[in-house]
Subunit: 454 residues, 2 copies
């Protein structure tokens, strides 16, 4: 952070003064991640200018560190030959991540700039479903043969290691290419060089499947505490590896998507910061309009009780508290369940236990809320209103909480995204229950304790 | 997942039949992560039994893979000597994570079981503030000397590598212990063994500071795409390293905390699955009761307009739609901003731009919502009500959206947690605006177009 703030004005001054050679010399001595951060703070024109001043190898490193959205901004302002160079400098997984971000038409054009081998590989990776483990793969891993000596394996590593994404873990396959074992580099390094690779193998390995959803890979990485995992197809053939730095990105992106969904914002695909007004409108308006439909039922519910409202207008003053509290308790429950499903913490075997516990929790919460509501009812209305609000509160809170707990579970069982049980949806649905319960109880109470209109 | 489901019934049968030797033999051949997963699925008694059957080294591995909550469950059922063994088998960072979870009294007892060196180290790590980078540190890294040859460095690695948490990155310090450089193992491996370590150094390194908040470490790891980062104190002294597997855990835990906060659930500290009814009650009731206070203002707002309500009761039927829509739009805005601040995507330099864009987005959303509300007003009320609802809707949506955008920014500037701008808080505050705007516009419309009570 510091470096960016220190360098930015200085670099901008040099650019303005046209002292590009000084900028070039200066940049060549900076680490890639600092330059990448610097680029994101510049405007479009400066960004391309600066990028062009980087020596080739540094440019490749910097480009690979940028977000796909920024990579795209740079590519748009480059000549075809520059684009070709930059693309060939990317690792296969970074290339897939970039192509995923681009419109199909642009991706087609870029694929045409790759050499045959890279293009074939990019097409293979893009053929895996969006959001699958296959899309995260790179083929830059090191394979060793069981019959090699440790010294031979180390010698191989010296040649093959330069190009590989990680050498922390090495892989062993059979003649047909099926994964048979993995080997920690550490084990190799500390082993007697005269031993054979086979002597270090234990036949146990963890792996991912290419068609698995990528969020499952996050859980697998957490389970095994590894920095890289191999990916196999249905026949066990080793296709590539996934590294933990990509998994960290996936974990953040999946969490962000769930945050947005829980607030009825459809996945943005781009950074919030870079989203256009039109895009934000499109991603937000859908559910808001949809929830208007849910409100029709709340409105119809209220209309049924119009006579009661005219008779005791003070009831209306407490209505937002009542339906709001049901919604808030439901929002808590839904968020807890949606997140616990996403982190793999709860599965369908836990559901009954969780529902029963939620009944207990929400009854306790409801009773405490009823006490508070009773005093508020006295303050804003009268004893009758206080009684109605207190009696309704527990029921409404329990109804909202159960809705928030059960709906994500049901969605999950139906193979739908549990985060669709968003807070606004739960809140709007709780409104319907709330209104019906509140005014029904009001009618009942008023029948037993009739009062004159206030 | 598969293995757990396959093994569980079989193991339980063997335990029931008392064939513990068979279980022991079977377990000794399984990989640690599978056993760890198996343990979490067993009940308390079986879990301890099974754990006791593991050979020492495997037991250490399995224990270190368990969540601190589960580690605690195991410890509670172990004899003192067993506890001592298990604790000494943990790495320093895992030990800190476990101690963090336990009540201070229990931690004191466990510290007494450690040898002098381990205890001193544990106390040092626990002296860093909760949630700081210092708490994630381990001292199990490898240092190399610049004057060594590559061959000497590799020889050192062979001895020191076994005990270290990662060997992907090696570190260089000066005579006073200040970090001066880092070196990728890969560079060492592919280098000419006759060269010196100094020949491979470039003087550039990334590092963390021990007192930094741990969520900043997540962003640093993402920026540098490294598997480990060194940690220094204010004088630049190398204190330890942090590894990316812990950072993945931090990223998930921080996201979970924000999810919960956004729904007014205070941080649980334990798994949702394992939370007791009493704990959930305590973590949820606080804000729910607090929001009752906010509702006092909504209620008072409504009371001002009681005459209007009695005159046109149909207005009430549309009130939940109106205040709900303001809250929903506000929930979207707040969630977008809170998450973007958490991922480091937006900083204070972007605020004005974001507020202006939000005005644009919310006006567009508000107009679309007004159109929908107009028709709903016609359906549930009459032309007057429809007019009031349509006129109010845009204002309420814009007010809610701006509240949701600005409140997290203000909290962040005040060094408070932006996620305190929770969805229920925004919704409840939007209710106040909503009610005042709605009934004020109703009064104005009714003055110009007076109608008889329905």
């Amino acid at each position: 952070m510091l470096l960016r703030h220190l360098l930015l004005p200085e670099i901008q001054d040099l650019i303005e003064a046209g002292r590009l050679n000084d900028v070039r010399e200066f940049l060549a001595k900076q680490p890639g991640p600092e330059i990448a951060e610097l680029l994101t703070a510049l405007d479009d024109k400066e960004r391309v200018l600066l990028f062009r001043l980087l020596p080739r190898q540094l440019a490749d490193e910097v480009f690979s560190l940028l977000d796909p959205a920024f990579q795209n901004l740079l590519l748009e302002n480059m000549a075809q030959e520059e684009v070709r160079q930059v693309l060939s400098g990317l690792t296969p997984d970074d290339r897939t991540a970039l192509f995923e971000e681009l419109p199909a038409r642009v991706t087609q054009g870029l694929l045409g700039l790759l050499n045959d081998k890279d293009r074939k590989q990019a097409l293979t990776l893009l053929s895996y479903p969006e959001g699958s483990v296959g899309r995260l793969m790179t083929d830059r891993y090191v394979k060793v043969e069981p019959e090699w000596t440790i010294a031979q394996a180390m010698e191989h590593l010296r040649k093959a290691g330069l190009d590989s994404e990680t050498i922390a873990m090495l892989y062993i396959t059979d003649a047909r290419g099926r994964l048979t074992d993995d080997l920690r580099l550490r084990k190799l390094i500390i082993a007697d060089p005269a031993l054979r690779v086979a002597d270090l193998l234990d036949g146990h390995y963890a792996c991912l499947h290419s068609l698995q959803p990528r969020e499952e890979a996050v859980q697998t990485f957490k389970k095994y505490d590894l920095y890289a995992l191999p990916v196999v197809d249905a026949d066990g053939i080793l296709l590539g590896i996934v590294t933990i730095d990509d998994i960290l990105d996936v974990a953040e992106a999946e969490a962000t998507e769930d945050f947005h969904k829980l607030a009825t914002v459809r996945p943005l695909q781009v950074n919030f910061k870079d989203a256009t007004l039109a895009l934000l409108f499109r991603k937000r308006i859908g559910w808001l309009l949809g929830l208007v439909l849910v409100n029709i039922f709340t409105g119809m519910g209220i209309k049924i009780f119009e006579d009661t409202i005219v008779a005791v207008a003070a009831l209306v003053a407490l209505m937002p508290l009542l339906i709001g509290s049901g919604g808030n308790a439901g929002a808590q429950a839904a968020t807890l369940v949606v997140r616990a499903i996403a982190t793999g913490e709860i599965g369908s075997e836990d559901w009954w236990k969780l529902v029963l516990r939620e009944i207990g929790v929400s009854v306790a919460i409801g009773l405490a809320m009823s006490a508070a509501a009773f005093f508020l009812g006295l303050a804003l209305g009268n004893l009758h209103v206080a009684l109605v609000v207190a009696l309704s509160m527990t029921t409404v809170v329990v109804a909202g909480s159960l809705l928030g707990t059960v709906l994500p579970m049901v969605l999950n069982r139906l193979q739908l995204d549990p985060a669709t049980a968003s807070v606004p949806l739960i809140t709007s649905m709780a409104d319907i229950f709330g209104v019906l319960i509140y005014f029904s109880i009001a009618n009942a109470v008023l029948r037993f304790f009739p009062i004159a209109p206030t």
